[in-house]
Amino acid sequence: MEAAPPETLIALIRQVDPAVNPAEIVPGLPDLPAVDVTRWGLPPEQTLSTSLSRRIPVVSAAVAAARAGDHRPAVDLLTRSAGDWALRSVAVHALGEAAADDDTWVRSWRAVTGEYDPHLAVLDAHALFWLAWKLRGNKPGAATRADQHDAFHETVVRAETAARRATELAPNDPTPWCTLVTLARAQGYDPIAFAAIWKELQARDPLHRTGHEFALMYLSPEGNGSYEHLFAFAERAAAASPSLAFLVVQVAYDLEDHDERVWQDPRVRRALDVLLTWLGSATGGRGVHANSDRSWAAYGLVSSGRGAEAVPLFAQLGTDAAGRPWEDFGDNAATVFDSYRRRACAATT
């Protein structure tokens, strides 16, 4: 049989599903489209950054100083962020990763303030969460050695203990409760135990973004379970605030491996509209989570066949290919980001 030319194959695939990337269907096809994104004013692929801490200058400065061994900017940032829980959760997440890689700066900080500093306790707990994942590695379960699984579970237990301690030292702070939410799936909490943690987080920050994001991961069914309760959870949150509308896109993203048609679901379409309006507003377009919202919106728009609407979002993201959903693709994060950009640009022609 004569091989069909790539253009014919691509056209065929487009007929069946206009949103899909042909390279994912037929290996060897150009990771379409072969467009030069710089013509749309987007930065070239080589300049993309997957570093989470670069997003917010004050956070990236603190992380850079910490990695160089200076704890003071980090301490300043954590002290200042008390009350600004959105900034604090971003800061703790980024500094936690730095501390999991090298805790020299944490030890010098501890030497100054002692064991009972609430900011230190909050950071310690989240750093242990990062450490657990780094000990495990990001390979699938079957490709992970028994000692890596053991190290993960032992360290998750330590992270939980540390987070509980942090909730006592920083009683008003939702951040350690958010850390507990992030551990929920690994720890296999039952619904009652999870609800208790969730209640504490909600009492301190009812719209806590990272908490909602990880709660969704905890609630996500294994395998082919039903996603209806996930949609219900995400839609309730989105109804409470447009800042949580991205959750509906996240549900669709979870579900797409089982059901590609989810991107045509009216609930997803509505959520994308809400997200776009929110990003166009002064609050939504400037917050610490703005780029995270843009990433989810861009991913969802391209997947729903509304790529043209994603181009301005990619323009605003610039070189920032960090965070979810891209980071879920591990080493391919930047490549996936770039392929979604190309599909967005191609949709304008």
Partner: protein, 532 residues
């Protein structure tokens, strides 16, 4: 009479597809033969189409008519060796109104079953096997055991209707045939389609028949041994299944990786059942519904109520006491059944009593990487691979040099240090436990229902884990651990541990990265082995 009609309907429906195929084959061949007498040339042309069709149909018929022989497993129980059991089974079959089995096998499963080898979608039976689960023999009374056997045998009884037995047989064979049809083959897929659609109707139509048969089997059991024993037996089945599962996955294999099995497994099983008795009270009081793909059983609670309402006194005399009493020299037989249910390597294991097994299994589970860690310490210091060499290496601040190879990308400094700490902690803890066990300062005890427990001599008021934590902390502190070791196992007195691990495997099955249940509660740090 309605029941009889349904039974006949079932038999007819099940035979309709094979019969139709047979008629088609005969018709096609007959037509071709007739055509041959009329015009041989035309007949040859017709045969070009007919022959492949007949072949294909014949093959399909062969698939349906093929024998279903159950793989016979377990340990055969021969009549001349166990006349009492056989006599009881014959008597129970008689009361149930059916033929006795052709053979009896003892198996390592927590249930009993009668299976028949059949031909032609179960319409013809050739050989009847009775499989008896060893755990039932160990835990049920003779009367309860007899009730379970009568129930199973009574499925094949013809007492209710002329066709009840044949219908039960057909239903099993039907589902079996559906399951074995090769779905890649186009013709077989067609057959599957036909059977599923005709069969789906009949399977649903036969639900009531199935339920009625279940009740009839219950009734037969009650008539044979009495309502009380039958109800008691039904209440025990779920607890036995649960405790057997726990036993096989945890206790039985606790010394597996070290090369050991219990010498008297069933005494351990019975102690586990006794220890779990209260915990399983819920299962006993409210038995879960059985899930059997062939039958739609009425809820067990409803069945129990019906059996109790019969208030049958029982007609078969069954000896009082445990079902073990029905067997001559039962323990070797149960043990053989148990080994039969394990992988062949089981025969090569050393058989030891439970206290020894708990000790050997416990130490082996904790020393999975101890030899590796001691060898690394020896390599780093140029001294013998001993516990005190390891402590010296830690005191010298060389913990970081123990880090096992990272998987894939190189680890960052803290991750690398933490990996080393966890790795050495595990090996050191194992070495300490092994040394203290050898010195008699740690004793291992059976502690049913847990797998076992280790107890540090009361002279030493210390938390082993805390001491090991301190030894691998940053900075390290081995003073307290050394003091304990010096007091309990002086370096020049008793032999110091040099590693007892059987190979360098981790004895646990790989777990999921996330979630999962907590392990079965066991002694301090001791965990179960790999399931057999």
């Amino acid at each position: 009479m309605k029941l009889l009609a349904r039974t006949v309907t079932w038999v007819v429906l099940v035979s309709v597809v094979p019969l139709g195929m047979l008629v088609l084959i005969v018709g096609l061949v007959g037509f071709n033969v007739w055509a041959f007498t009329e015009s041989p040339v035309t007949a040859v042309k017709i045969a070009i189409g007919v022959v492949p069709t007949v072949l294909v149909l014949g093959r399909g018929l062969w698939v349906l008519a093929a024998r279903i022989d159950h793989p016979v497993h377990g340990v055969p129980v021969r009549e001349h060796e166990q006349p009492e059991l056989w006599a009881l089974v014959r008597r129970l079959a008689e009361v149930a109104g059916t033929a006795p089995p052709d053979d009896i096998h003892l198996v390592a499963q927590a249930n009993a079953a009668v299976r028949e080898d059949t031909r032609l979608l179960g319409l013809i039976a050739t050989r009847r096997h009775l499989f008896i689960g060893a755990p039932l023999v160990a835990e049920l009374t003779s009367a309860q055991f007899a009730a379970v056997l009568t129930h199973e045998l009574a499925h094949y009884s013809n007492r209710d209707t002329r066709f009840a037995g044949i219908a039960y047989r057909s239903r099993r064979a039907f589902v079996h045939t559906l399951g074995t049809i090769n779905r890649d083959d186009l013709l077989q897929r067609g057959l599957h389609f036909l059977l599923r659609h005709t069969g789906g109707v009949t399977l649903r139509a036969s639900t009531r028949l199935s339920r009625r048969q279940e009740s009839a089997a219950d009734e037969a059991a009650a008539v044979a041994v009495g309502s009380a024993a039958t109800v008691a037996a039904f209440r025990e089945l779920a607890p036995i299944a649960e405790s057997w599962d726990v036993f096989v996955n945890n206790h039985l294999v606790v010394g597996w990786d070290a090369g050991y099995l219990p010498a008297d497994a069933f005494s351990g099983y019975r102690r586990l059942c006794a220890a779990l008795h209260d915990e399983l009270a819920g299962l006993r009081a409210d038995p879960p519904a059985e899930s059997d793909p062939y039958d739609t059983h009425p809820p067990l609670a409803q069945r129990i109520a019906a059996i109790e309402a019969l208030a049958a006194p029982g007609t078969v005399r069954v000896p009082a006491g445990n079902a073990l009493g029905l067997l001559r020299d039962p323990l070797p037989l149960l043990d053989a059944a148990l080994l039969d249910g394990l992988v062949p390597e089981a025969h090569g294991k050393r058989r030891v009593d439970w206290p020894t097994l708990v000790r050997v299994g416990g130490v082996a589970a904790l020393t999975g990487n101890t030899d590796q860690v001691l060898a690394t310490a020896a390599r780093l210091t140029g001294r013998p691979p001993r516990l005190r060499t390891l402590l010296d290496a830690l005191d010298a601040g060389r913990l970081g040099e123990f880090a096992p190879d990272p998987a894939g990308q190189p680890d960052s400094p803290r991750v690398r240090a933490e990996r080393a700490r966890l790795y050495v902690h595990k090996g050191l803890f194992g070495a300490v436990v092994a040394t203290l066990t050898d010195a008699g300062a740690i004793r291992w005890q059976e502690s049913w229902p847990s797998v076992g427990r280790m107890v540090l001599d009361q002279r030493f008021r210390a938390s082993l884990r805390g001491l090991v934590d301190a030894a691998v902390a940053s900075p390290p502190n081995t003073t307290a651990l050394r003091a304990l070791l010096d007091a309990a196992a002086p370096p020049h007195g008793r032999r110091e541990h040099r590693g007892t691990a059987a190979g360098n495997q981790d004895p646990r099955a790989d777990g999921p990265a996330q979630g999962g249940q907590a392990p079965w509660p066991v002694g301090d740090g001791l965990h179960g082995g790999r399931p057999a």
